[in-house]
């Protein structure tokens, strides 16, 4: 779900990164591109769809 300007800045603050207001503005300007990428990458999958990284317990 796309975030509005205030929510985006709150989300950035929550990450613990220390950004200036100008840096947050610059990121917010690119946010629509990022959000479009996220939406495309996370389109719904069937419930049973497995991921590509596999946990394999093995001794090395």
């Amino acid at each position: 779900m796309a975030l509005g300007s205030d929510a985006f800045r709150t989300a950035l603050d929550e990450t613990g990164l220390t950004l200036t207001d100008a840096q947050k503005d610059a990121l917010f300007a690119a946010y629509p591109l990022f959000q479009a990428m996220v939406a495309r990458a996370t389109a719904p999958m069937p419930r049973e769809a497995e991921p590509s990284v596999i946990f394999t317990p093995e001794a090395r």
């Binding site: 709150t10 989300a11 990284v53």
Partner: protein, 60 residues
């Protein structure tokens, strides 16, 4: 960085819990925040995750 209100965090996450659930949700999130902080390190940047992406060779 000023303290972010819990309500602002919930809004930034796109969640819409019942108002009556907010106090217990806040307690749960505090526990999760503590757990996440423990996960964050210190850790060598080269440390690999357990799950690996692997390809199987295709029989010619």
């Amino acid at each position: 960085m000023s303290e972010i209100s819990f309500e602002a965090r919930v809004k930034a996450a796109g969640l819409r819990p019942n108002v009556s659930d907010l106090p217990s949700l806040e307690v749960l999130v505090k526990d999760l925040d503590r757990a996440a902080a423990l996960l964050r390190g210190p850790r060598n940047y080269a440390e690999e995750p357990q799950s690996a992406f692997r390809l199987r060779p295709v029989t010619p």
